[in-house]
């Protein structure tokens, strides 16, 4: 494939400031720091390939779209069981919560010790990503729609579902009951 000419300074201005957001999204989708590093590296290489086609001003949404694709490609290659077949909207809506907890998830639990973090990590990726993009990256519905490649209406329904799942999460319920027992 023909390599588009890359303006080094422009790339540094457009992509490098998004590395935190990219790594955060990759980390939340892969549950692993090392894997997130590989994914962001892959995303940077893709961004370099497609940089000539980027003319817009919304650099964050543009780069996060690439990061998200790199994430799902990586998961498909390494943990295909985590992705619902077809990877379409319906499949994500109906995806069951992953029953098993990966070693990375366990490590993250030990590191943070937060029931909310655990509950968020346990959400299906389709819900987890919209919540991360909304609450941690503070993206608008429109930007989330672009990054996740879904209509704005789907962004709203997934956010509502993700928040509902989080509020009713057994992990949070257990904490509430424990706290109530102590009280």
């Amino acid at each position: 494939m023909k390599q588009a000419h890359v303006d080094r300074t422009r790339f540094e201005q457009v992509v490098l400031p998004q590395l935190d957001a990219a790594y955060n999204l990759a980390r939340w989708l892969t549950h692993s720091g090392n894997d997130a590093e590989d994914v962001v590296q892959d995303a940077c290489e893709r961004a370099l390939r497609y940089f000539g086609a980027f003319h817009g001003s919304d650099a964050k949404a543009w780069f996060l779209t690439i990061v998200r694709h790199a994430c799902y490609d990586w998961i498909k290659r390494n943990r295909p069981a985590e992705i619902a077949p077809g990877d379409n909207a319906e499949a994500i809506e109906n995806a069951p919560d992953p029953a098993g907890v990966t070693p990375e998830q366990a490590a993250m639990r030990n590191a943070t010790g937060s029931a909310l973090t655990e509950a968020l990590a346990a959400l299906p990726p389709g819900y987890r990503e919209v919540l991360i993009l909304r609450e941690l990256e503070d993206l608008s519905y429109k930007e989330i729609a672009r990054v996740a490649d879904i209509p704005i209406g789907t962004v709203m329904s997934r956010l509502a579902r993700a928040r509902g799942l989080l509020q009713r999460s057994p992990l949070l319920q257990a904490v509430r009951e424990r706290n109530a027992g102590r009280g």
């Binding site: 890359v6 490098l16 790594y23 955060n24 590093e37 590296q41 940077c44 609450e135 941690l136 509020q167």
Partner: protein, 205 residues
């Protein structure tokens, strides 16, 4: 706005995505509805908890370093591939300029030579005409060049002083070159020429 409608809009309201008109209507409803207000507070609290408790993973230095090295790799690869192309670009540009210069030189050269030839032809014709005038007025045939430049010309002594204008002779030459030798007579003896001070190739010359 009722509770059912409010439930659908509470999330967008909390996320700051609701337009001002519906936001105002929703706020009016919240003032008089404790259930919807409680739901709004739950959503606000959850959002605040996620933002404060859930870790934001900042990119380690290694990520930045790897991104920069990927950028360096692409930029240096481009430098390697683009430079020879630029060199060829200069070469082809030079070749193009050379061709243009050659064409220009050829064009200027042939124009000058052509002008020179014409000038010589006219000069010769004028000289011959003058000679004819001085010789006494009968038809003088001037063979200036081999065909198609053979021009037969002459004039009557009574009507022509020596020296046809160059313009007339140029016109004559063009006519000769365009037409066949057979039609030259009628062309030259046409009304335009007969009407002037010089009558060329007429029987009375």
């Amino acid at each position: 706005m009722d509770c059912h409608e409010t439930t659908d809009l509470l999330q967008a309201y909390g996320d700051g995505e609701l337009d001002p008109v519906r936001s105002a209507a929703l706020e009016r409803h919240l003032l008089g509805c404790t259930e919807c207000t409680a739901r709004r507070d739950e959503l606000t609290a959850l959002s605040a908890r996620v933002r404060s408790e859930v870790p934001y993973h900042r990119a380690p230095q290694a990520v930045r370093a790897r991104a920069l090295s990927a950028l360096d790799a692409v930029v240096s690869a481009e430098t390697r591939t683009v430079r020879p192309r630029e060199r060829w670009g200069w070469l082809s540009g030079g070749a193009l300029a050379g061709c243009a210069a050659t064409v220009l030189a050829w064009f200027v050269g042939t124009t000058v030579l052509d002008w020179q030839a014409e000038h010589d032809l006219v000069t010769e014709a004028v000289t011959n005409h003058t000679r004819a005038t001085l010789a006494g007025g009968s038809i003088i045939s001037i063979a200036t060049r081999s065909p198609p430049w053979s021009i037969a010309t002459g004039c009557t002594t009574s009507t022509c002083s020596s020296g046809h204008s160059l313009q007339s002779l140029r016109l004559l030459r063009r006519q000769v070159s365009r037409r066949s030798a057979a039609s030259t007579w009628s062309t030259i003896a046409g009304p335009g020429w007969n009407g002037g001070p010089c009558r060329m190739l007429t029987p009375r010359c």
